[in-house]
Structures are given as structure tokens and as C-alpha cells.
């Protein structure tokens, strides 16, 4: 077992209630502990209100954490602040659910892929152009897509672009929030294949958040099922799929088609 890339211990995220005397909200994330070994994929499964998005936001440092620790590559991820945090964020890439909402309609694909590089301080030029074309081809799109805009792409092509953008700064961790939910089944298969290839080629670590257990079970070594802020089940994918310990997990697996 390789050393964990991400370690979360007893994490609590709670949103502020409105009003001075209002009762505090129940924690959105209630004491979650997880460990993601480098090069592996963790599937985080949960329905609305399970806390999966709040956990994700805490990992991305977008919401404050009430208590608990997060370490990334052995460092205290919650202690980093200011300009150091800005630099440290390069080590996490993020892919959102709807590529048409996360890609600017105004920019060309080349500009979209250049943005993270320019934000890091890279100088525009021939080298950057080559890097962008390489990024795109790694994600299965030829260079003739570079002058196009997102509105000219299909859903699957647009999601490939947003994966390419997430990989632009060579992150150690790729966080995917429902990356295939907005896509057709045949396109979903293409994106899952791309993620499998990236995993095999570059040993990328992934945190894959979804409500669809069957989709993530195809990629992930480990599954974690959340409900109402707490982890209800965690384990190796094969074990969870074959022998779910919780009735709730069984319900998620049991729906629909049998094989």
C-alpha cells in the first residue's frame, strides 16, 4: 500500500444559521474520516443532502471547516493560507458536472486551456501552445478543436475539454463531481474510458463523487457511501458491491438491471 495522498480525519463542516438566536444547523459533514492512497480512486456515493458536495468543497478549501484535519501529500492542507494556498491549489484539478456551465462560452478551447497556465504565471508562446495541444490530445481531441468555442462541441467533447483543463497544471489529485451525469450512456462510456486511460498512463489519484454507484464502481478501488453527513459504508469496491453491509447500500445497488 502506497502512502496516502489525502487523509481526512473526523471532518465536520457546518453552515452558519441565520439570525443571532437561531438554532445552529446540523453539520453537513459529520465526522468523516477517509484515506486516499496515491494513484488510486475513491468513489464517493450519496444522494441529495448526504454531505458529499460539502465534503468536496471542504477539500477544495471553498468552505470553512468546523473541526477535523485534512492532509494532502503529508502536509496540513487546512493550515495553508494566502498566496501559499493559491500555489498549493495547483495540486488539485476539478471537473464539474455540466461542462457547458463550467466552460466559458466566450472563450475558444485554446484560451480555456491556457487560463490555468497563465494564472500560474507561465509565459504565453509557442511552448504553451504545444502544451495545450498535448493536453487536448491526451483527452482524445485533435488540435483542430482549439479554435472552436464550447457551444460548437457535443456534451462528451466539452467534458473532455474540462478534464484537459483540470489536468493543465499536472495536479496530484483530480476531483470529479458527477462528471458523467449530464451525458448519454454511450458518451459516458467514452469519458469513463478516458479516465481509465489517464489512471493507467499517469497514475492519477481521483476522488469521484456521484449519486450513481454503478458508474463509479467501474473506476474506483474503494467506495464510500454517505448519508445525512455521515459515512454509512466504506470498503474495497468488490466487497461493497458483492456484500454491502448496509441496507441503504443494498438499495442503491439493487435498483434496476441485474447482470
Amino acid at each position: 500500500m502506497t502512502a496516502p495522498l489525502v487523509e481526512v480525519h473526523d471532518l465536520v463542516v457546518r453552515y452558519k444559521s441565520r439570525g443571532l438566536f437561531a438554532a445552529p444547523f446540523k453539520p453537513a459533514v459529520n465526522g468523516v474520516t477517509l484515506s486516499l492512497p496515491a494513484g488510486s480512486t475513491l468513489g464517493l456515493v450519496g444522494e441529495s443532502g448526504s454531505g458529499k458536495s460539502s465534503l468536496l468543497r471542504a477539500l477544495l478549501r471553498l468552505v470553512p471547516v468546523e473541526s477535523g484535519t485534512i492532509s494532502l501529500g503529508g502536509e496540513d492542507w487546512l493550515a495553508i493560507d494566502g498566496p501559499a494556498l493559491r500555489r498549493a491549489r495547483h495540486s488539485i484539478g476539478f471537473v464539474a458536472q455540466n461542462p457547458f456551465l463550467s466552460l466559458s462560452p466566450r472563450l475558444t478551447i485554446a484560451q480555456i486551456l491556457a487560463e490555468p497556465l497563465l494564472a500560474r504565471g507561465d509565459k504565453p508562446g509557442a511552448e504553451m501552445k504545444d502544451r495545450i495541444a498535448l493536453l487536448l490530445s491526451r483527452c482524445g481531441l485533435p488540435a483542430n478543436f482549439l479554435p472552436l468555442r464550447a457551444s460548437e462541441l457535443s456534451g462528451g467533447q466539452a467534458q473532455r475539454v474540462s478534464i484537459a483543463r483540470a489536468l493543465a497544471l499536472s495536479p496530484r489529485l483530480l476531483v470529479l463531481d458527477e462528471p458523467t451525469s449530464a451525458l448519454d450512456v454511450s458518451v459516458q462510456a467514452q469519458i469513463l474510458n478516458l479516465l481509465l486511460d489517464l489512471k493507467a498512463d499517469s497514475g492519477l489519484s481521483m476522488l469521484f463523487v456521484t449519486h450513481n454507484l454503478k458508474v463509479v464502481a467501474h473506476l474506483a478501488e474503494q467506495l464510500m457511501v454517505m448519508r445525512q453527513g455521515s459515512v454509512v459504508e466504506v470498503g474495497a469496491t468488490e466487497r461493497v458491491m458483492a456484500d454491502p453491509a448496509q441496507a441503504y447500500t443494498r438499495e442503491l445497488i439493487g435498483f434496476g438491471r441485474r447482470r
Binding site: E47, L196, L213, A217, H218, E238, E251, L252, F255, R257
Partner: protein, 328 residues
């Protein structure tokens, strides 16, 4: 009119469509949203209409509701509901015999009116009963969709309800019209998996208890497996395979249906590449020569590009393909 059912026996046909097409004029030439769809739905069944984006599944539902845009040209060789030709009167059946359950219940309900008022709007349009009688009917219908404490619920606004509860209200409204044929357009896509499963179970219960018939428009094979008796697979505005849901899910005959099932994440062992379908659906402005799936088909033959595929199969399971045997 009779049509085949799952059990092989014949049952009373509620809806019979042959050669339905919907064409929409555009600057780029006519858009063929639906090219040619055949559909035969028996009374009392849940019939899945399976397809990916742009295959014409929603437009087929809209044509049945008489809700296609005014400038769209709708044509069909046969379009009969309960034995009556409705080619010019589909809109008259809407809200009387045919009702729609849409994908997003929050958008289907009016945010500024109470549930009770919105139920009453439907009941008032469809009956001349007294206000008290209508209120009692509304409560009974809400209770029939599995909503607890229906009298209290009548005073609530849609935003105070969860997505699953909202969808139950929409189903109660559909029942309030007295319709016996429901067109459910992706009714569980906006819901959580477990809540969606409960809504599907409710639809099944209503079909049994009230003798309803449901056209279930979906892209989700799990929904087909969970609730559909029979199903029709659409590709590029064409119905390419129709048969018992279990047969389509386990032994699909059309290469597209087979490819769609092989692309599901649980079709391959973990970590192995999935059989993604290469290429894209033909643009709806394009005229198709030969088989619509031929540019992407793994079992393509020379004649597939030039000749329209013949209808194969018999009885309750039919498909369009040049292959004499079955899908690869």
C-alpha cells in the same frame, strides 16, 4: 385492434402509431426530429421509449399530446388512440385521456400557489362538483400517490416539498384529469436513486390499481429494468427495436440496442475499458440512406449503406436489421 404483449397473447391496443414523423423547418433545411416511429402500446402496460439525446423520444411524446410547435409538420400512416384516429385531434385528448408527467416537478408546479389551489385548478376544469367535493377528491388523490397527511399538504407551497413529494403531486394532478394514459418523460431523472425507485413503484401500483397505461420516456436502462413491461428503442428518430423489456435488456437484437447495453458501466469488469460507441448520431438535417446506424455499427455490411434494413422478428419482438441472425 390487437397487439402483442409480453406473455405472447394479444391484448387490447390503446395506442397504435405507424410511421410517425415530425419535421421542423429551419434555416439549415428541414430538421427531422422524428423520422419514422412505430409504436404499439397495450392497455395496462408500462412501455419504455428508450433513446439517447436527439433520438426523438421527447418529440414523440409531444406529438401525442398535440404540443409540437405550430410550424412543425406531424405526419403518420396510422395514429390511433383507443381505436379512434387522432391525427387531427391529439390536443383534444390532452388533459382528458392523456396526461404528461415531466422531468422536473419543480418546473411543472406553480411556485406561488398552494398545492391545494393547483389541485383544484385541475379538478375545476374537469368537473362541475362543489368546492368541498373537489377538496375531498384532491386529498384522496394526493393520498393515493402515497403522500402522508394530505390535508396539511394542501396548504403547502411547492418549495416546502422535497423533489419526490413534488413529483407525487404532479402525478396526483395527472390522475385528477381522469386521464388513463400517462406520458412520463424521464420522471425520475431529477430525483435521487432511492426516491426515483419509490416513484416508479408508485407508477406501477397505479397501473395495477387504476388500469392506467404509461409511456415511459427514458435513457436509463435501470428504469426500463425496474418498471417497464415492453420497450421500444429509438435511434436517430427511428424505432429500431421493439419487444418485451426483459428480452431487449438480455438479448437485444438490433446492433444499436446491443451497443447501448455494452456501454453501461457494469457491462465490463471493473477497470476494463467499456465498449463505447464510436462516431455520432447522424445530424437530423441529413437524409439517411440505408441503415441509420450503419456508420457506427460493428457488424456493418456493404448493403447497410445503401438499402433500408428489413423488419425482422415476429410476434412481440421485432427489429430493423440486415443481419438475418442477431446482433454481434
Amino acid at each position: 385492434m390487437r397487439c402483442a404483449t409480453v406473455k405472447g397473447a394479444s391484448a387490447v391496443t390503446l395506442l397504435e402509431i405507424q410511421g410517425l414523423s415530425v419535421t421542423i423547418p429551419s434555416a439549415l433545411g428541414p430538421v427531422q426530429a422524428v423520422r419514422s416511429i412505430d409504436l404499439c402500446i397495450a392497455r395496462g402496460e408500462i412501455h419504455g421509449l428508450i433513446g439517447e439525446s436527439g433520438c426523438g423520444k421527447t418529440m414523440t411524446g409531444m406529438a401525442l399530446l398535440g404540443l409540437t410547435p405550430a410550424y412543425a409538420q406531424v405526419a403518420a400512416r396510422v395514429i390511433e388512440f383507443d381505436g379512434v384516429d387522432i391525427s387531427n385531434s391529439a390536443a383534444d385528448l390532452r388533459g382528458r385521456r392523456i396526461a404528461l408527467i415531466s422531468q422536473d416537478p419543480a418546473a411543472a408546479l406553480n411556485p406561488v400557489l398552494t398545492i391545494g389551489r393547483q389541485m383544484d385548478d385541475v379538478l375545476r376544469t374537469h368537473s362541475s362538483n362543489s368546492k368541498a367535493h373537489r377538496a375531498a377528491t384532491a386529498v384522496a388523490l394526493l393520498a393515493a400517490t402515497g403522500l402522508a397527511d394530505a390535508p396539511q399538504l394542501m396548504k403547502r407551497y411547492p418549495h416546502q416539498l422535497s423533489g419526490g413529494m413534488q413529483q407525487r403531486v404532479v402525478i396526483a394532478q395527472a390522475l385528477a384529469t381522469g386521464a388513463d394514459f400517462l406520458i412520463a418523460d424521464e420522471p425520475t431523472t431529477a430525483l435521487d436513486v432511492t426516491v426515483g425507485a419509490q416513484v416508479l413503484a408508485l407508477l406501477r401500483k397505479l397501473v395495477v390499481d387504476r388500469g392506467l397505461t404509461v409511456l415511459m420516456i427514458t435513457h436509463d436502462m435501470d428504469v426500463v429494468a425496474a418498471v417497464c413491461d415492453r420497450a421500444t428503442v429509438l435511434y436517430a428518430g427511428l424505432s429500431v427495436e421493439t419487444g418485451p423489456a426483459s428480452a431487449i435488456l438480455t438479448h437485444p437484437r438490433h446492433p444499436y440496442a446491443a451497443a447501448l447495453l455494452a456501454a453501461l458501466p457494469d457491462a465490463a469488469p471493473r477497470g476494463q475499458r467499456l465498449a463505447a460507441i464510436g462516431g455520432q448520431i447522424p445530424p437530423s438535417t441529413e437524409t439517411i440512406s440505408g441503415c441509420a446506424f450503419s456508420p457506427r455499427c460493428p457488424a456493418v455490411m456493404a448493403l447497410c449503406h445503401t438499402m433500408s434494413p428489413p423488419a425482422r422478428g415476429a410476434g412481440n419482438h421485432r427489429w430493423l436489421c440486415h443481419l438475418a441472425q442477431c446482433a454481434p
